[in-house]
């Protein structure tokens, strides 16, 4: 799952290296519109619906947090 998340993030913002262990939000690698686009891509690729209340910056700050979010919303 992690590889796919990195692939989606890289397609979204090719100028950044998402394998680095940094906070994507604090580092300015993802803005609010990137998050909206990311949610759309994650929902399509993982065939899942992400709950609106979960769409907060903290849940998109790292690969691990995105993976946790996907698992919470039903991705095995």
């Amino acid at each position: 799952m992690k590889e796919k998340i990195v692939e989606i993030l890289t397609e979204l913002r090719p100028e950044f290296d998402f394998t680095e262990e940094v906070n994507f939000i604090e580092e300015g690698m993802l803005d609010s519109f990137d998050i909206v686009s990311l949610v759309d891509e994650l929902e399509t690729n993982f065939n899942v619906k992400i709950d609106g209340v979960d769409i907060i910056p903290e849940n998109f700050s790292s690969i691990d947090s995105i993976e946790t979010l996907l698992k919470k919303n039903g991705v095995a």
């Binding site: 300015g28 803005d31 609010s32 519109f33 909206v36 686009s37 949610v39 759309d40 619906k49 709950d51 609106g52 209340v53 769409i55 907060i56 910056p57």
Partner: protein, 354 residues
């Protein structure tokens, strides 16, 4: 706060749209973002075209055009109007009230009340509730509710947060006493601690417009705007809507004794398609029961989106049929409000251009 009314009805809705159509692609070059990124956003948010008022056109002009249409077509009698409500964030002047200006324009009777209400995205629900309250009085038989906003001149052309979604429009809704004792359930909620999440910082008494307030600055996301422009904290607004609106609708349904399946239409304010679909998912409403086609065709004209949704999606059907409708608005204030009522057999329900 809960409200309940009986023997009131909506008897007509007229939406008035500017003739000028602006496409997302026309404005895309103004944004400080790569084209690919902007087009991706267009798809997800549902941006396409929006209606923009011509230079010099004010909110009251659209209301006057709508009322003139109703008078000319014998759909409304001047002498029957007991109250004129103008709900807007873009009045003609700080003083006098725009509703008084409109009353004066038509030379309406003096024995009536004119009232301006400063409200935005929940303005249709707030206006209807105010109309229902006035109709509790013996002397009030017919209220004309005007929702109108021409905010496009206040949005920076370099602001991708707000420019693609903003639309100008007005709606004239007739609310009157009825014989139907079916209950109308309403809910109003406000949180002023979030008041600055959506605002125009300069131009009022607190911060008058000056040369300094007109200077554009770049925000963290790359948008350019000045203090004279509308600014929206998109994250805060999105989170507030997702957190507060679903429980409000659950509570409204619980009070009314209806389930989601019993409701024919969920006519919600439309900031963007993404937010609306997330709300539909959270409430458990099929997308076909919650139309999301206004922002992509006409833009978000704050309190006018709900009547526009009703006019655009139901049109003449609402003149012949009757539906259980759940309406909701949410935004500036912060305000979130909803109404559950039977709506049907309207005298008119249409869109005109001005």
């Amino acid at each position: 706060m809960d409200f309940k009314f009986k023997n009131k009805k909506v008897s007509g809705i007229l939406t008035i749209l500017p003739k000028r159509v602006v496409t997302f692609e026309e404005e895309m070059g103004n944004y400080n973002f790569p084209e690919k990124k902007s087009l991706r956003l267009k798809k997800v948010m549902g941006y396409n075209t929006h209606r923009v008022a011509a230079e010099g056109q004010c909110s009251s002009d659209f209301c006057i055009a709508g009322l003139q249409y109703l008078f000319d077509n014998n759909l409304l009698n001047k002498d029957e109007i007991d109250a004129l409500l103008f709900v807007s964030q873009s009045p003609d002047y700080f003083m006098p009230p725009t509703s008084n200006l409109i009353q004066g324009h038509f030379g309406l009777k003096h024995d009536m009340i004119c009232l301006d209400i400063n409200q935005g995205c929940a303005g249709f629900e707030i206006g209807l509730i105010q109309a229902f309250m006035l109709l509790e009085q013996e002397s009030v038989h017919k209220v004309v509710l005007m929702n109108a906003d021409v905010l496009s001149p206040k949005v920076s052309i370099h602001d991708r947060n707000s420019k693609p979604l903003i639309g100008d429009a007005a709606a004239v809704t007739i609310v009157e006493k009825g014989n139907d004792d079916k209950e109308i359930f309403c809910s109003v909620n406000m949180d002023g601690t979030g008041a600055k999440s959506l605002m125009i910082p300069a131009g009022g008494f607190r911060m008058p417009c000056t040369e300094e307030t007109a200077v554009e600055h770049e925000d963290e996301a790359g948008n350019l705007r000045s203090l004279n422009n509308l600014v929206m904290q998109g994250d805060d607004v999105f989170n507030f809507v997702q957190r507060e609106v679903p429980p409000m609708i659950s509570h409204l349904l619980e009070r009314s004794g209806f389930s989601v399946e019993d409701i024919d239409w969920f006519m919600f304010h439309q900031p963007n398609k993404f937010m609306l679909n997330k709300l539909a998912d959270a409430i458990g409403v099929p997308y076909e029961k919650m139309p999301s086609n206004i922002v992509e065709n006409f833009g978000n004209a704050s309190g006018v989106t709900v009547p526009t949704t009703i006019s655009y999606n139901l049109g003449e059907r609402l003149e012949k049929e009757s539906f259980k409708v759940c309406m909701a608005g949410f935004g500036v204030g912060l305000t979130w409000s909803s109404i559950m009522m039977e709506m049907g057999s309207l005298k008119f329900n249409k869109i005109i251009e001005f």
